[in-house]
């Protein structure tokens, strides 16, 4: 059964007809040609399909597109850079500090998990700023968890990287977090 919905993808409103069974991931990739979110498992087990959905990091493979009519989605392509297929990129083509940090620390190899890692990292830094705890936060009641290495590792654990770029990803998130704190 088909349904007409609209999604705001990287700042652009896009009308799309989906099957009621279509996941947000397949709506983006197969129907809108926005292939920044990747499909590593299709079952919520890898994090490659992570985007920012209404401002928070979110998987797209376990979400039905019809349930997210009107949602605002930012992919790695919408965070910055010259823009990829189906995405606007940033107006001046500048990279987002998280993207730049991934380049600086070689936080990837094959690049398949990377758009998801980048979106997740942006979400992690937001959550840290908002004072959200993680499992490794010693004092749950404290309102300002630190961005320690262990905090970053735990919070980024929903994004698997089979190339094993975790060391670079850690350094990248740390750098982007420090820049943010300074800004």
């Amino acid at each position: 059964m088909d349904a007409d919905i609209a999604l705001i993808v990287d700042g652009e409103r896009r009308a799309v007809t989906v099957d009621t069974r279509t996941t947000l991931l397949d709506a983006l990739r197969e129907r809108l040609g926005a292939t920044q979110p990747k499909k590593g498992c299709d079952h919520g087990q890898c994090g490659s399909c992570t985007v920012l959905l209404d401002g928070r990091r979110h998987l797209t493979c376990l979400a039905l597109a019809v349930a997210h009519d009107g949602a605002e989605i930012v992919t790695a392509g919408g965070l910055g850079g010259p823009g990829g297929p189906g995405s606007l990129g940033s107006p001046d083509g500048a990279l987002h500090p998280v993207q730049q940090a991934f380049l600086d620390h070689d936080g990837f190899q094959c690049g398949y998990c990377t758009p998801g890692q980048v979106c997740s990292a942006v979400g992690v830094l937001d959550e840290l700023r908002a004072g959200h705890p993680s499992l490794v936060t010693e004092d749950l009641a404290a309102e300002d968890p630190t961005g320690s290495d262990d905090e970053i590792r735990e919070r980024m654990s929903g994004n698997l990287c089979r190339c094993g770029a975790y060391a670079g990803i850690l350094a990248a998130v740390r750098q982007a977090g420090t820049q943010e704190a300074r800004a």
């Binding site: 920044q36 890898c46 070689d106 094959c110 690049g111 398949y112 698997l160």
Partner: protein, 704 residues
Amino acid sequence: MSADIVTQLVPDVVDARAMGRHLDRQDGVEKVTGAATYAVEHPVEGEVLHAWLVTSTTARGRVLRVDASDALDHPGVLRVLDHESAPRLADTEDRELTVLQDDRIAFRGQIVALVVATSSEAAREGALLVRVHQDEEPAEVVFDEHSATYAPEEVNAGAETDTEVGDPDAAFASAPVVIDATYVTPHEFNSPMEPHAATATWDGALLTLHDSTQAVHAVRTTLAPVLGLAPEQVRVLAPYVGGGFGSKGLPHAPEVAVALAALALPGRPVRLAVTRQQMFALTGYRTATRSRVRLGAEPDGTLLVVRHDASSQTSRIKEFAEQSATAARMMYAAPHRATTHRVAALDVPVPSWMRAPGEMPGMHAQEVALDELAVAAGIDPIDLRERNEPEVDPESGRPFNGRRLVECLRVGADRFGWSGRPAEARARAEGDWWVGTGVASATYPMLFSPGNTARIRSLGEGRYGVDVGAVDLGTGARTVLVQIAADALQVAPDCIDLAIGDTDLPFATVAGGSSGTSSWGSAIAAAAQQFRHDHGSSPDPGLHTTAASGAYADTEGHAMHSFGAVFAEARVHRWTGEVRVSRLHGVYSVGRVINPMTARSQLLGALTMGLSAALHEEGWRDPRTGHVVTQDLATYHVAAHADVRDLQAEWLEEEDHLATPMGSRGIGEIGIVGTSAAIANATFHATGVRVRSLPLTADHFLDA
């Protein structure tokens, strides 16, 4: 430009200017923005069709009937191919690639039908609605100490099945210290983040395949005869590949399946993404291994005899013999030595290459055995390895090309802080954790694949096009090949326009066996040197030269290997037995490092994969059905970010001009070798519990 004249030459040494320095990853921006397009992401002309595989649920038997009526009734489903309706293949010798040609079922998870639909939703549902009536025959799927095995003619990489030097039996009989233990590694799955996938279009004359592969030309040369096409009728493209680690080194059944779908629906692009679950049966894996390792030594640890008897399983339809015992042939000095390989042929999917096939499981066994010897003899594990350092390759008697294992061990020991390590196990606790350290050696042969060809084109204004059908699956090839080309042409890297990942480009071999950079780089060096010879230093635009590299490496005169040392600090929870690797450091001798950044990522990535194998990975095959039930990323665990703590890789400065004109050797695999052994040895040191199987799960240490 297919009519190019190809010159074959052995390239001269390339002077390093760009090589050895940093160069930004050439495709970095595309990757961090998501603009890089993988196999099923390429925009194609025409309305795309979606294919979905239907797989067998019996391990052995026959397909009696494929009932597609419900599937075809489902809106959007266009076609269901089965063994009767699929186009015929021209060559069915390779049973792994013989897809939908007959009713035989050789393993659980084999392709028995294929659904093509206008949407992926319809294709998925169509596949569920196909009813496959199967006749089940008794199957053998269990690999253990009781499995009947045979001696293969040779083992993977063309190595000898058995070797023997001296009189091992007599040596054991008189050896003062003997270690005799069996080490077991489980089925491991490459599990690249990008699932195996392809988009195929057949226009009546040309089959275009956007594939996720480590070798575009190998896909073409393998598939063309299978499909009954001339090689020129198959074009394979792979500009970006989301990892492979060996599983994408050769085409597997899904590539044939998508090609069949395209042939059946001419003019329509067909996309097939193998599901994560299906990958556990269809795209290769590292077979489980059993290694009986026996070491006989003097009381001071000097080895008298080494024996490694390795067995593994393979599929009844295609032999793959993991060469686990080959490292025992060259690692340590000993006057007496024997190695053997046996395989059990079972009704299971076809095993294949996974990062450092042979060395990874084999060195795990050997390096844990060596740790057992160190404990038995009361010697420091590093001293033990140093004591058994051979002067020449123990079996062939050839000199090494520069064997720096001891330096790796010593430098690593220094960096890691090895000295002062308590000799006895279970000596250190911090909070709720037992803490221990362990070490292991690493090695990987220097491999070179002949036949690589590259083309250099003058673009004018000092710029050059460099074409080679290589693939970058994350290794950094797209970056280091630019550095090599720049130095070979003696220009700056930003003068190079590199094109890779397309069979329209000159022939290149697989990104595998850590041979890619060596082999493609040699071809680029040959072509660049020939180009300069032909066209001088200020060539007119349009001039070009194509050349192939002859064998450069002196493999006859030398035993060519890379070496390394891995140090691990493991923590074992006193209450739950959970294991954490708090530090993992590797030091390597790998020839010249062409790009420090991408090289470090390769080594760290392989160390991470070794850690993952040590702690997590286990494909559990149901003995009743032959089915790997841990068939997704929630049950087949690979290391998550929180599992990886302090991880470091470094290398000894060197250049190896016996190996390649660039002075490099290859770095893709050595990082996984020995890593799980170092961690296993560290858990023993932490707890006093010796675990001889992988993975090192918490239950092993609960009573520690």
